[in-house]
């Protein structure tokens, strides 16, 4: 991912409405994001674009996604 795109993504991960997401997404950016392939990185961008509560519900298992691109990233975030 190009630097400005990554930095924009970073800002949108480290400044959320919910502290829970600030912590989880920052941690994932620092530890797991680099290891993703391009398609997976794109899937993460889509998740990061979600509304805070919708994403948090996915990460806590209150909701599930049947999107095959998003589900593996959600699984990684749950374990991060």
């Amino acid at each position: 991912m190009e630097r400005p795109d990554y930095e924009r993504l970073r800002w949108r991960c480290i400044r959320r409405a919910l502290l829970e997401l600030d912590i989880t997404l920052t941690r994932f950016l620092d530890d797991g994001f680099d290891k993703l392939n391009e398609a997976q990185q794109q899937a993460f961008v889509e998740l990061a674009d979600m509304e805070d509560y919708d994403l948090w519900d996915l990460l806590t298992g209150k909701e599930e996604t049947d999107d095959p691109r998003l589900a593996p990233i959600v699984a990684m975030l749950r374990k991060s």
């Binding site: 630097r3 400005p4 930095e7 924009r8 970073r10 800002w11 949108r12 480290i14 400044r15 959320r16 409405a17 919910l18 502290l19 829970e20 600030d22 912590i23 989880t24 920052t26 509304e51 805070d52 509560y53 990460l59 806590t60 298992g61 209150k62 749950r78």
Partner: protein
């Protein structure tokens, strides 16, 4: 260097509840209105407010604004201004009904009225028994509120500048506020917003503490900008803490966990609340539990390598009960403490939650400052609302559900006042020649400094200092040494260095600029707390204990007054609490007990 100038009637900094509410007033009055926000509006921290908004609608049982006023004055430990409190509670119903008309999906009763539920501290008949006063949209009240108000603003043609950070207030020689400087994050470009009215709605600064429930965005930008422009900060010693945040993360563990039988334990597994509150034990009030936890940690009975937290134990509960009655708690433990609370206790610490003090305002939303002997001289062109402002309605302690009410009422009020002032026909005042110079110099210093302080380390030093020296339970000697320490941290915060020099999306630079705001708030908090020698509301000192002469340690004879911290020379002055309501009699001083 030539800096682009954008001309608006009004600029609002912050797109949380207060900012969006005031923008509606301005845009619907036909004024050209800009809203600046570091994030997309519906990602503002107002989203995290779950509880509800207080209004004495009386939909479920008899209620009255005067009772709500009494509760708020009492909750504030009599530090709230009674004119502002009367103003707020009397406007509550109107503001809630307006929100409903904006499309806010409030929970409803069977007959279609807004459903109301009880909330701590809200009582009927002047403190007699709990009353149902909180209006909510499930547990997503703040979220639903922001969406409704954002849509209304879109309809009213408010212009949003998303992912822009305001940098500095622009005041002319006469002291009038004529706009702000701001930076577009995507390009790094600095722009002047030249306006006739500037409204700050930048939220709180809970990130000054190591343990905070606040999202990372709450860096006190409005307070930092006001302080740099020579505006004093009011009552900054008053911060509300929640007893159970996950240690090291701050994520809130709901009070329901103790309600379901959760037990607080120290390093020797002792149920220490039995010593502090023999009857209520772990269900004692927030402040009692928080103080007991702090005492355990301070006296060396904390847990972990640094002995800096206690444990919240629910391992004795049936796992099915935990999963059914406390949804999400297991996930929070796993995610933020690495602990499965079914098998192991959770590490918790008292955690900063809400800032009662802020930029001094009149209840009209106009910012006031001491001048020529009058502590409440209006700063022309400048308004503030919500958590960044101090009207003061929360005084020394805020009641639950009064924060969403605050941002609605004072957001609207600030907007109305700006409309009134602008309709009086004032033209744009001339911009000072050096309008952007301060901001550009700050950015240039951060960009070019060599051998300066690291932003992350400086922030951590500040947060640890605030947590250890000015936390939920305060000690004279720790406050004194805290003053020295925070002034040391301030030196580092004035010498920040970043490695990344790029223009576009330079998050390192943005975080350095945020740090310069945080330190203003931290300093104001520490120095104001050290100076106030009594206990009142959320400011509780070990050396101002509960005595017959001073119940709860409160000393009205000497300390029934607002603190004004002057950031220019680090001095403190005081101004009287307004004890005179608008139409009713003063709610007389009394010991605050529940």
């Amino acid at each position: 260097m030539s800096i682009p100038v954008l001309k608006f009637d009004a600029v609002i900094v912050g797109a949380g509840g207060a900012g969006l509410r005031s923008a509606i007033q301005l845009s619907e009055a036909g004024l050209k209105t800009a809203v600046l926000s570091k994030v997309f509006p519906t990602r503002s921290h107002t989203v995290a407010a779950q509880g509800g908004v207080a209004a004495s609608l009386g939909n479920s049982e008899e209620d009255h604004w005067h009772w709500h006023m009494y509760d708020t004055v009492k909750g504030s430990d009599w530090l709230g201004d009674q004119d502002a409190i009367e103003f707020m509670v009397r406007k509550a119903n109107e503001c809630v009904v307006e929100l409903e008309h904006y499309g806010m999906p409030f929970d409803r009763t069977d007959n279609g009225k807004i459903y109301q539920r009880p909330f701590g501290g809200h009582m009927s008949n002047f403190g007699e028994k709990p009353v149902r006063r909180s209006c909510a949209a499930a547990d997503r009240t703040g979220h639903a509120m922001l969406h409704a108000m954002y849509q209304r603003n879109v309809k009213a043609n408010t212009q949003f500048f998303v992912e822009w950070m305001a940098l500095d207030l622009i005041r002319d020689e006469a002291g009038h506020v004529v706009g702000v400087t701001a930076m577009e994050m995507e390009t790094g470009q600095v722009v002047i917003f030249h306006t006739r009215a500037t409204i700050f709605a930048t939220g709180g600064a809970g990130r000054i503490f190591y343990s905070s429930t606040n999202a990372f965005i709450n860096t006190g930008d409005g307070l930092g900008m006001a302080a740099r422009a020579g505006i004093p900060l009011e009552d900054m010693e008053f911060w509300q803490f929640h007893p159970t945040g996950v240690a090291g993360a701050g994520v809130l563990i709901t009070e329901g966990v103790r309600g379901e039988g959760g037990i607080l334990r120290n390093s020797s597994k002792e149920r220490f609340m039995e010593r502090y509150a023999p009857n209520a034990k772990d269900l004692a009030s927030r402040d009692v539990v928080s103080r007991a936890m702090t005492t355990e940690i301070n006296e060396g009975r904390g847990c972990g390598v640094n002995k800096d937290y206690v444990l919240l134990d629910i391992t004795h509960l049936d796992p099915n009960t935990i999963m059914k009655r406390l949804p999400g708690i297991r996930e929070i433990g796993l995610q933020f403490a690495g602990v499965d609370c079914i098998k192991e206790p959770l590490p918790v610490v008292p955690t900063c939650h809400y800032q009662m003090g802020g930029i001094p305002t009149h209840y009209s939303g106009r910012v006031v400052t001491p001048q020529n002997g009058d502590p409440n001289t209006i700063v022309p062109g400048f308004y503030a609302a919500g958590e960044c402002a101090c009207a003061s309605v929360h005084g020394a302690n805020r009641l639950g559900t009064n924060s969403l009410l605050d941002l609605l009422v004072f957001g609207k009020s600030a907007g109305d006042s700006a409309v009134e002032d602008l309709k009086a026909g004032k033209a744009h005042r001339e911009l000072p020649k050096d309008a952007a110079e301060k901001s550009l110099a700050r950015i240039s210093a951060i960009d070019n400094r060599k051998g300066g302080a690291n932003v992350h380390e400086t922030r951590l030093a500040m947060q640890r200092t605030m947590q250890n020296h000015a936390g939920v339970f305060r000690f004279g000697d720790l406050l004194k040494s805290g003053v020295d320490k925070i002034l040391e941290v301030e030196k580092a915060a004035r010498q920040l260095e970043i490695k990344d020099k790029s223009m576009a999306w330079n998050t390192a630079r943005t975080e350095a600029l945020e740090m310069e705001n945080l330190i203003e708030v931290a300093k104001a908090t520490m120095l104001s707390a050290e100076a106030r020698k009594e206990s009142r509301g959320a400011h509780v000192r070990d050396d101002a204990p509960d005595t017959p002469e001073f119940p709860n340690g409160r000393n009205d004879k000497e300390w029934l007054k607002h603190t004004l911290f002057n950031p220019v020379d680090n001095t403190i002055s005081y101004k009287p609490v307004n004890m005179q309501p608008l139409t009713v009699e003063t709610i007389a001083l009394k010991t605050r007990s529940y």
